[in-house]
């Protein structure tokens, strides 16, 4: 009993006075001793700077470190502390929590600062920036003296600035403030505010720094809002393009349009599953593009030939019919695939954030969808303008009877036009599978928006659809910070209602005889 008490006291004394004195061999087993002790041990290992600790801490952060019943910590079949071979049987994975992850990030960062690998040093500099402490200052100064790559130097200087803020010396702190003010990021601003709360005498310097940062951040915020607005606009554009053909050009009120989008998304899922274990797996998303177009176009042809064409000129019946078809398609998909969401993976090139020059962040998946939306729009316009099919389509829309007398098979053109519009909806499904849920209800969320875009932009005008989609996207994002997501949407709807009152034909109304 007394021995245990003494041991506890000794441990406390050790932990309090000098962590560095606890030996490596003693610290490593503590990594498996629960979240609290593990965090302290990881901290101590990071401070000691023993290079043997780096692979062990990495393994812990990646969940590869095991612990057996005797409390020994095992890495790759060896005792991590002593290096002797040991059976991993019956050993369990050491669990992490967020507190431990934060400590590990800092400790690994400190140890990896002198790594020969540039990518590791870059990650380390970032990690040390996020887990700054006064103890890091000499370490970073040392690392900086040996660093040659300018980009990593900049990161290290930033980390040094952050850590200097915590040194109890006003001149050192001022140097830190200057570095952080120059960085101009939200994280730097946060650190400065923290330091301001701790050290009121630096308030003047810090306030000046924050003002500099705020100017940069205002520009960045404007850019972000614009990007997010364009991104939302491109999603609306994709969703509405197919409808701009079926509703805008043909005049079919297609309430099953959303379900075409949904079928496109499920096609993406099926292509992914079909290619999952083949060499083509990485290409499943690009390959889904033609697949989704063909599948939804085929569904479109079937619907048009067997059902919709019998109701041309009867908009109310068409509306009810397509609404019913939509519900049947939804339930059909639910029966085949189940009510659960299906997971469509994002390829690596669509994940994460791209930093544009000037520190302007762009999320990759959104960027690709903007480009995809513009490409689809361009191809659609080209198809209508330059191909024979486009010519026949315009002819049938402008004057069905004269087109027929010229030898155009109007029935066939109707079917192909509807298939084309449906195929475009399928393409929207491919894009939406990357940002929304692939579920049977996927389409219902977009049908209202699509009609809104087409009517607002001007029925029958593709340019109108583009301008309409982008306007709605940007206005929505401009309003969102002030009104919240729900009210912003309501405000946009009210705005459109008022606009349609003034201009019933939308932004780009068709003029002349063709409009009649």
């Amino acid at each position: 009993m007394i021995a245990r008490l003494l041991a506890v006291l000794l441990f406390c004394a050790l932990a309090a006075s000098a962590r560095a004195q606890t030996s490596f061999e003693e610290l490593v087993p503590r990594l498996g001793g629960g979240f609290g002790p593990a965090a302290e041990a990881a901290q101590a290992l990071g401070t000691q700077g023993d290079p043997r600790a780096l692979p062990i801490l990495r393994a812990l952060s990646e969940g590869r470190l095991l612990r057996n019943a005797e409390g020994r910590v095992i890495l790759d079949g060896r005792d991590a502390a002593t290096g002797e071979a040991i059976a991993a049987e019956g050993a369990t994975r050491i669990n992490l929590n967020n507190r431990l992850r934060v400590v590990l990030r800092g400790a690994i960062g400190r140890l990896a600062l002198s790594s020969p690998n540039a990518a590791e040093r870059r990650a380390a500099a970032d990690a040390v920036f996020r887990t700054r402490s006064a103890e890091n200052v000499p370490l970073l100064e040392d690392a900086l003296s040996r660093e040659a790559i300018p980009e990593i130097r900049a990161l290290m200087e930033l980390a040094l600035g952050a850590s200097r803020l915590l040194v109890d010396d006003v001149t050192v702190q001022r140097a830190g403030i200057i570095v952080l003010s120059g960085a101009g990021t939200a994280e730097a601003r946060s650190l400065l505010l923290e330091a301001r709360a701790a050290k009121p005498e630096l308030a003047v310097d810090i306030d000046a720094g924050i003002a500099t940062i705020d100017r940069r951040l205002a520009i960045r915020r404007g850019f972000e809002t614009a990007f997010q607005g364009i991104s939302l606009g491109s999603v609306l554009l994709l969703a509405a393009l197919g409808l701009a053909i079926t509703f805008g050009v043909m005049g079919v009120i297609n309430m099953a349009h959303g379900e075409m989008v949904m079928i496109g998304a499920y096609t993406t899922f099926m292509v992914q599953e079909a290619l999952r274990h083949t060499a083509w797996a990485a290409w499943s998303l690009p390959l889904s593009v033609p697949a989704a177009f063909l599948v939804t176009a085929a569904v479109g042809v079937v619907l048009e030939r067997f059902l919709i064409r019998h109701l041309y000129g009867r908009p109310l019946e068409t509306l009810l019919l397509t609404f019913g078809i939509g519900m049947m398609l939804q339930q059909g998909v639910r029966l085949i695939f189940g009510a659960q969401n299906r997971e469509v993976l994002s390829p690596a090139w669509m994940q994460g954030t791209l930093m544009l020059p000037g520190g302007l962040p762009v999320t990759q998946n959104r960027l690709w969808i903007i480009l995809f939306g513009l490409a689809v729009l361009a191809l659609t316009m080209a198809a209508i303008r330059f191909t024979r099919f486009g010519l026949e389509m315009r002819a049938v829309v402008q004057n069905r009877r004269i087109a027929a007398t010229m030898g155009i098979r109007t029935g066939w053109v109707d079917a192909m036009t509807f298939a084309f519009g449906s195929g475009l909806a399928g393409l929207a499904g491919v894009a939406l599978s990357q940002i929304d849920n692939v579920s049977p209800n996927l389409g219902t969320g977009y049908i209202i928006d699509s009609f809104m875009v087409v009517v607002f932009g001007g029925v029958g005008s593709l340019v109108g659809t583009l301008v309409g989609a982008l306007t709605l996207g940007i206005v929505n994002k401009l309003l969102e910070p002030y009104a919240g997501a729900v009210l912003a949407k309501v405000a946009v709807l009210v705005g459109i209602m008022l606009f349609i009152q003034r201009r019933p034909k939308g932004l780009f109304a068709l003029k002349g005889r063709a409009a009649e």
Binding site: F35, G36, N95, L96, N97, N98, R99, R101, V102, R105, R130, A186, E187, R189, S190, L191, L192, L193, E194, R196, A197, L217, R221, T225, Q228, S231, L232, V235, Q331, R334, G338, A339, Q340, N341, R342, E343, L345, S346, Q351, G352, T353, P361, T363, Q364, N365, R366, I435, D436, N437, V438, S439, N441, G445, K477, E480, P481, G484, A485, V486, K489
Partner: protein, 412 residues
């Protein structure tokens, strides 16, 4: 025992019902099957969550029948589909009680559906087991609540975030879907945070519609809110599949759990089944059960489930466990009361104990809520939760929160 929510008319109707019911039951007794109503949406937006609960009830019915039923009587499930349509819930509830004359009903997920059937169950004196965590501020003699009350989920989770292991959060973002559960829960949480010295300036509260998919703006604003020099955490009451694009956006904008942890109250194993979970590792969820709980009762539950559903990859989750606990308690109460009569079962329900898959023995309290352990789990790469914190013992439910001033005096 006085029950404050019961209006005089409902109480009278209940009495009339209880007088009428024994006659019905004696007519249908002697070997006639005991009817178990299932009131879960099998189509529409909620089908994603509720289908599994229907299957859980069917599994329990099958298991009970294999064990000889209750009192020698077989159980028979009556499944109806309210189709995620709130008024239809009330109609279907009436159909179950008046036409099919079910002895008990297991059903509802969203609070709005529960609120829609509550008057029907009170009028016809039915018995409803509601298996989902909810906002509290309700008590009905005809409903047994087997999910968590706010003090069994929301408040401990926020306490965890504010503690050393959770990262000592000083600023809290309350994100939710725009309906009664998130708004009430966030009102309770705001009261709680204020009582802990976190002022309104350090709380950001925002709501989105059901099925919201464009989270760019909100996540950007959360980042800006977090850059004020104090550790920030997100408390999410986002419901349904809007969670998937939300987590995707968190991942894409590079928000790691180490920087801004997010604790969710409506994200379980079933919801994670449709997401690539790699970017989410370390984000948290608070529940009273996780599939990863290591307990004999849980191993039995999971193996029963896999056998029943014939798919070893299907997951179990908290509302499924709550359904199971409710079903077992009901079966025990019927056996103890030697009757399926609503009033007899209601009396016998109080104090029922079940060794639940969460690894603890849970007890039905006189306020029609359970004692439940609180657990915090971290999302892992395989879509399961790693339990990082749990209460040492089950916590009794407080359905009337002390942080809602106008109802605080109803606490008992």
């Amino acid at each position: 025992m006085t029950l404050p929510t019961i209006t005089r008319r409902a109480a009278l109707a209940g009495m009339a019902g209880s007088m009428a019911l024994p006659a019905i039951h004696s007519a249908s007794a002697q070997g006639a099957p005991i009817k178990v109503g299932v009131l879960h949406s099998l189509t529409g937006t909620m089908a994603i969550s509720e289908t599994a609960l229907r299957d859980t009830v069917l599994m329990m019915v099958e298991k009970q029948n294999a064990a000889g039923g209750i009192m020698g009587r077989r159980l028979e499930a009556v499944v109806v589909d309210p189709a995620s349509n709130w008024p239809l819930f009330a109609e279907k509830a009436r159909e179950l009680l008046a036409v099919h004359k079910v002895d008990v009903t297991f059903g509802c997920w969203t609070s709005v559906s529960r609120k829609s059937v509550l008057p029907v169950f009170e009028e016809l004196n039915g018995l409803l087991f509601y298996p989902v965590q909810y906002e509290g501020e309700e008590e009905s003699r005809n409903i047994f609540y087997t999910g968590a009350a706010p003090n069994q989920q929301a408040i401990p989770a926020v306490e965890y975030l504010m503690g050393a292991d959770g990262g000592e959060a000083k600023r809290i973002v309350l994100l939710g879907t725009d309906y009664v559960y998130p708004r009430t829960t966030n009102r309770i949480l705001r009261g709680f945070l204020n009582s802990k010295g976190i002022t309104d300036a350090d709380i950001m509260e925002e709501y989105t519609p059901f099925g919201h998919s464009d989270w760019q703006g909100i996540v950007t604003r959360v980042k800006a809110f977090a850059a004020q020099g104090k550790k920030t955490a997100i408390v999410s009451t986002i419901n349904g599949d809007a969670n998937v694009p939300f987590y995707r956006e968190l991942g894409n904008q590079g928000i790691k759990a180490e920087d801004i942890p997010c604790v969710a109250f409506s994200v379980g194993e079933e919801e994670l089944a449709g997401i690539d979970t790699k970017p989410l590792v370390g984000h948290l969820a608070a529940w009273n059960y996780f599939m990863s709980v290591d307990a004999p009762a849980n191993r039995e539950f999971i193996s029963d489930w896999h056998t029943f559903i014939r798919n070893p990859r299907r997951v179990t989750n908290d509302p499924m466990e709550a359904t199971l606990v409710g079903f077992k308690m009901w079966a025990q109460a019927v056996a103890q009361a030697r009757s399926t009569g609503v009033d007899a079962v209601r009396t016998a329900m109080i104090g029922q104990k079940v060794a639940a898959p969460c690894g603890f023995t849970l007890e039905m309290l006189p306020n029609h809520h359970l004692t439940k352990p609180v657990m915090i789990g971290e999302i892992q790469e395989n879509g399961q939760f790693n339990i990082v914190w749990r209460t040492p013992a089950p916590v009794p439910a407080e359905n009337w929160s002390r942080y809602i001033p106008e109802n605080a005096n109803r606490r008992r």
